[in-house]
């Protein structure tokens, strides 16, 4: 059961959320077998906040494209994890996770599991009901991927829903009370509860430590391997688990690091070195070519400062702090690896320590 994580044609060929020409070309050339696609991660051009419709547009466009090859049912089963916001020089791109049988070196190697959960009632969002639903989903995804030891899991991507004025209205019309009425804030709470679901599933935190009151507040609780993005186009969760498993083979490997703050790049440098991509300064051209994906979370530090120096991200009413943080942390990480087609996702509530965040690296072994 060997996996592959293909990348379609170079990301500058993608001209919008609906441009699937790179994927089509890779399929036409036989570089990607659409029947083996498990998940597609993407950075899309929107604002990454409540009214970002580029995620849904990309998902609709990818689903239509795959349906032409593998039919609508199997196309719908793929996990489309579209993270909005390509601030700064971050490049819009897709990363395709594909499973191919009978190929590659022997394991352990990158293993991929994925799960769709049921729709989440609006009143569970940002509460323990969401934590539990996500934790159960991860256990199922690990089982599917043949990952038995939580220590072998290096990254869990959760795409989670958010509240809109309408969803709040519907919930309140049936007598339910949502955790928050601010729609932008609901994204943060949803990401936070999902991430605590990861922490519980991976044994980083005891389930009983997670209460409704702690979600979004007790920032000492976090997962070092969770990545959560909220999107208006979802009602339930899409979960993708990445780990190392002897049941898989191939030349791909994954590792992870935790940044302590927005400029803490040295742990990422160390993770790169563990995967054979060690470098004193920026990665050289050869090493860059072996980097398959860098997946990171970013947030404005809630105390308003980085290493004692004030930042203005939380006081800016023109640009959401998530956009600021994505642009800045993408700059720090792109300066490290020498590439801008990286995946930096905003809002790192309970994902790494306050102001920091988890980073996963997937690389081709030498």
């Amino acid at each position: 059961m060997p996996p592959h994580a293909h990348r379609p044609r170079p990301p500058h060929h993608r001209t919008g959320p609906d441009d699937v020409s790179g994927l089509e070309a890779a399929i036409a050339a036989g570089r990607i077998d659409p029947s083996g696609i498990l998940a597609i991660f993407g950075k899309t051009e929107g604002n990454g906040c409540v009214n970002d419709f580029t995620r849904g547009f990309a998902t609709q466009s990818l689903t239509l494209a795959l349906a032409r090859h593998i039919g609508p049912e199997r196309a719908a089963a793929v996990c489309y994890v579209m993270s909005g916001g390509t601030e700064g020089a971050m490049a819009p791109h897709w990363t395709v996770f594909e499973r191919v049988e009978g190929e590659g070196a022997t394991g352990p190697a990158l293993a991929v599991g994925r799960v769709h959960t049921a729709p989440l009632p609006a009143e569970h969002l940002g509460r323990t009901g969401q934590v539990e639903q996500v934790a159960a989903g991860i256990a199922e995804a690990m089982r599917q991927a043949g990952l038995t030891d939580p220590r072998d899991v290096h990254f869990v991507q959760v795409k989670c829903p958010l509240l809109t004025a309408q969803r709040i209205g519907e919930a309140e019309a049936r007598g339910a009370r949502v955790a928050v009425r601010d729609t932008l804030k609901s994204m943060g709470l949803s990401r936070g509860a999902s991430s605590l679901g990861v922490a519980v599933a991976l044994g980083e935190i005891a389930p009983e430590a997670v209460t409704d009151a702690a979600i979004g507040r007790d920032l000492a609780l976090f997962s070092g391997r969770a990545s959560a993005s909220a999107g208006v186009e979802l009602l339930g969760h899409e979960i993708v688990v990445l780990g190392m498993s002897a049941a898989w083979s191939g030349d791909l490997a994954v590792d992870h690091a935790v940044m302590a703050d927005a400029i803490d790049v040295e742990p990422v440098r160390a993770a790169l070195a563990r995967l054979g991509l060690g470098a004193a300064g920026q990665l050289d051209a050869a090493a860059r070519g072996r980097l398959v994906a860098l997946l990171a979370k970013a947030e404005a530090s809630p105390d308003g400062a980085v290493r004692g120096a004030r930042h203005t991200m939380l006081d800016d009413s023109d640009i959401s702090s998530t956009r600021h943080a994505r642009a800045f942390v993408a700059g720090a990480l792109a300066g490290l690896v020498g590439r801008t087609d990286i995946y930096v996702s905003g809002g790192a509530e309970h994902q790494g320590p306050p102001g920091g965040g988890p980073v996963a690296v997937i690389a081709q072994r030498g």
Copy 2:
């Protein structure tokens, strides 16, 4: 004639453009002698674009504060170079350039010259008239600073004016025709012409190579040592020249680098090393403490890509590309030096190659 570049209290103590308490405290404690202040560089909290009033507010507040110590006339002679836009985790802060007699080690050391030019007629903005006015100003500033060889100049900061709807209207009312009617675009043209003025003054480009048609278009023409910021509060230019001169002493030194693109941090690492701040990864705490200022220019690469990967900065109608670029490049440079109280200024027209920009570093010698 030994110079000093003092930094007042840590930048997280500045709570807004009008917060001069850090400067006041440094004066009260005797760490800064207000009568020696030549220039104050600042990053302020606004959008760095046309309607950024934080630059003017900061300048008004600093001028008022200094006038209480040295009188309104001498306070007005100080060069206040306020660059708007602290995107990402960049910290609002001031850097005070002060000249003190009879102190410090023997030279060569950091030398500082400054000049205010006359108001620029609106119709000269973005044209050779502006280039010539700036070049003449630099020659005068070098003379003042005792800098005779252009090769000893490492950075020239030019604060230049922009066009507003009203200034355009006034120019047109007297029959003049401005180079551009788009006010945001006028900032770019003004920065571009100012930077070509630097290139001409430092001998990087022959004066006859600079034509009206080339300004803002022929990006092969650039200075590797210019930094220009446009501000609505100015009608003329404020020029500050930084270089190394044997006529100055003290423990401060300056050097520079040119980034070829938004993530080209290795030349900056080399400049740091030349100043005694060499490091394989991020600067350690000791080296950080000796870094006095990092002054950089950033811009979205006009070809829409970084190392072949598409960016979306130029197609984003919600956030100006200058804001994107500042956030991203500040991330790359802060990841290198481990500090966020750096000065990254947007809009690098004719400042370094397209998509890249000059960087100056001032450090305390060991």
Copy 3:
């Protein structure tokens, strides 16, 4: 050949650009016959500027929905005129233009013609080549609609393309030179050239009066019946002509007015009265119910003032002036008609006098 302009279910049921449930319900209930649909006008949730993908998302979603009923070929022939930007309290909504045979009162009545043009070469955008292509398209649309006298035409909607960094690059790669390299500015030039195409087609301006140099500059040239919107998802033009024709029947009628500035609502009040919707103050509930569509153009007055009082729209680098103008003019018109599900489209270059714009009203006759 009697026409109908149906409106699907109330606009507050539309939750996003991809929500076609209102249209589906109207089809299911027999209120709309999908085979008669000529055009769908929509206001979508995006920023209405370069990176507004909600227009393309809505068009893709509507096309998919109609294809399920009438097949992909006929679905593709419908004119989808999606105008981005529902600033202020403007409601996202669709207006469906449908032609039904053998129904309704005798004419003259609302007549609708539509045309798709060929793709426009990037270097023609904003130049006379675009003017000519649009004028030819209108003549064809009038012919189709049985409109022979230009005086019977009350509104011409043109959806036109814009330049992106990539399209500029492609044009320049083959040696062509585009009229403007600023992508946001290209929207204005495209709208301007399209509107002058309307003016030429309707005999408002002599063809020889329109030169490349006049487009975007000579604001004395304008059409009182043009409405142009630019969208990144188009390469050619989509043209819809609305007029009164004896060849059509039904109870719908159209008229138009020209606002002289952003608050000049009295001409619109007069047009409403001519259609039987006269009122001293705001329309009462009965009159509101007979208003089928209000289609207007808005722009920031280029001289920076309204009736002598300065506005800040053109100096705001945080919010595009088109967004400001849509919000403000939508407020003025909604205050007049008592409804917020109106169509106010931004960027009125050569559409009405500078700072003003054309307005069309479609009403059910009593």
Copy 4:
């Protein structure tokens, strides 16, 4: 004790928050006596949200200008009510409230009272402690103005503080707990508590009906005469009370209306008529000339709709809903009165019914 509400030179002469030339010219020409100035209301160019420094810049500039005439102490006693946000075509302008002895017609006439409160502890913001402080301030301002019957009060303007990351940090450092940690949200809570303070002071609501839990939530509680703006530059409140008093004379009168929603302009038309400015459509030139000030509050209706049609203001993460609402309601009111130099202030929590807001009109009697 006759009052005057002078307006300095036409607002299009104000080019920025620091442009006091119009006020200076009015003083120089003897049209305004600086020693009689009680308050200056202004609309400034910023975003009207947390990081809007134009309010502070305008206040600092006005204070400096007045200090040159009446000394720093009396200049500091003037109430500067700067409301940020001139969205749409709203014109930046000042309105000067001045008291002159021995002039004008006999009363009752416009009466003005003003008060500065002590700094508000951060943990009182948005709670009953703030309500009580504001109510006490109003009682004092009424007493000063000779207003004894609350029914004679037509408008109470309260400028109130907000929380910043730093103020929250300071409060938490001394063990206090603030009502909200989101700085933008703190503006709404502060406006809400201040407005309930007005309602209590004017007898619109019984004091015991206002609890911490009701503030910001129970929208059935509101004042029909309150207007509150939050600004980062304040630590306490500035309160200005406008009413009709027999103790005052002069030709100015004030009345008020309550808009039920964002397009409910008819009550304002009625208030204009009560002041002698009746008109079927838009005010004509003569009536416009007698309108001295229109002061209104605007907000996005919290249920996400206006008269059943959905709006997108609360789901927009690019533009704050307060900016949308100001632009739109300013359009509706400017369409009514035919002028754009009106004062529409965002955030109408507990000011009028949800989605609506109070409006005051000051006019010169015929």
